[in-house]
Symmetry: C2
Subunit: 310 residues, 2 copies
Amino acid sequence: VSTPDRTDRIRGVLSPVVTPFKADLSPDPERFVRQCRWLLSQDVGLAVFGTNSEANSLSTEEKIDLLDRVVAGGIDPARLMPGTGCCALTDSVRLTAHAMKLGAGGVLMLPPFYYKGVSDDGLFRSFAEVIERVGDRRLRLYVYHIPPVSQVPITLGLIERLLKAYPGIVAGVKDSSGDWNNTKAMLDAFAAGGFDVFAGSETFLLANMRGGGTGCISATANVNPGPIAKLHREWQTPEADAQQARLDEIRGIMQRYPMIPALKAVIARYGGDGSWATVRPPLVALTAEQRAALAAELGRAAFTMPGLGA
Amino acid sequence: VSTPDRTDRIRGVLSPVVTPFKADLSPDPERFVRQCRWLLSQDVGLAVFGTNSEANSLSTEEKIDLLDRVVAGGIDPARLMPGTGCCALTDSVRLTAHAMKLGAGGVLMLPPFYYKGVSDDGLFRSFAEVIERVGDRRLRLYVYHIPPVSQVPITLGLIERLLKAYPGIVAGVKDSSGDWNNTKAMLDAFAAGGFDVFAGSETFLLANMRGGGTGCISATANVNPGPIAKLHREWQTPEADAQQARLDEIRGIMQRYPMIPALKAVIARYGGDGSWATVRPPLVALTAEQRAALAAELGRAAFTMPGLGA
């Protein structure tokens, strides 16, 4: 079996697309597809079912149904990098196989995250079982390192073992450690060999590109997609540092609020659709006071979302 | 609606029953039912789908199928307290409703455990949505406090709110904090009002009974069920402290090894069925050296498992 080539790889900026809910807390496929279309219009790819998508508050059935609806809605599956890593091996296999059947450009895979302090042997076996059971050479698997939430880190040693066992299939990482030194260590160790490092937010987009990285997958790409994608296109221009500073300003505002409810509140406001503010438990929506303060801060910063709700 | 009475409540010692897997890592219902029968013969109830059951490595479908097979296998559903708390609201509702349909005596409910640092408001809403959607007055819900693993604690304030909103339905807690002061605080705050506190291991069984608690739900009840249940029956006798010391000796040995693989290795050895040692990733089985060392320690302690594999 030859190593798959890299020309078709997902690059650039992706958004962990926030998931809209109806009043009964069921996912709303129509608004979800509309949001995906808007993000694509801003040159941002679709890391659906990420942390910021409340993906782990959805059942596997709900995720499969949403994925079907997105593709039926005309979204190019090559632009999809769904999160498919679940606690249960059988769920991860089922969801990953379904994503492959639909032609997803890649999958972003959390480690099983209930049991803590597990060994790299056990994590290797988890990823390997999914890869073997899915059994599709077209699979492009991005491991998802987000220790502040998952509490189960992906070490450099684990990546090395996976790359050795599944070259070409193990395609990259999203590093949401928030620790640039860790991202840099991943770049230094693996980027030259064709392993794609996505920063976990645009905070490190410019540094990541300069270090040989591929792009970023960022919560705030849900609300500020165009300017983030622009920096990815123009990172080698003299304007790059100023663009990065402007991205940091907007993200800095968002980070003063609980991120997921804040993203949804901003989409609700700028898109003129209040129902977007709904979150599933255990999350809670912003209070009216938080919404007003956030809107005021974004207004002062002359923040816009061109084309949203059009 | 009157408050349900307490006479039918689950009491005593329960085991988070370890889940046997076939060589292809699928659950083995036949060996699972046999293990449940043996535990009941030792006067130990069945907290199936607990942490030590690798429940979070099973899909909701796999859990529903196992539950059906256990009841079809003749196990009294009143002795069942399945774990039904999942990350996704819809999974928790589905599994809890199924447990109620089968007549389970109670359910043990983890909070949604992916998102960290969530508010008591969000956790209250999570439990409340499950209770409301299941909509069954026979429900007896035990909240599961296991911060070392879930990283999402159940506070006393949350329990107070739940008890006020759903008296009789919110029936108790399993406290796996490992912190006796926390268990004591729960006993002092709620036990007199009819809230059943189960210690998270037999380490605190005697102290819990003396403090007004109900029993314990313990990993090591998988391998040492009879003596733990005996202490529960005899905690008011002069032999209680000596019995507790003997329980501590056996648990102390088990705790020197990774608990879940160690439980399975002991069942494999004492039941003469090596296939019991299989675990699902991300866990890994004990090494041959670990198995030998554990067997030697238990042998020196004159440990037995009467009736297992009979």
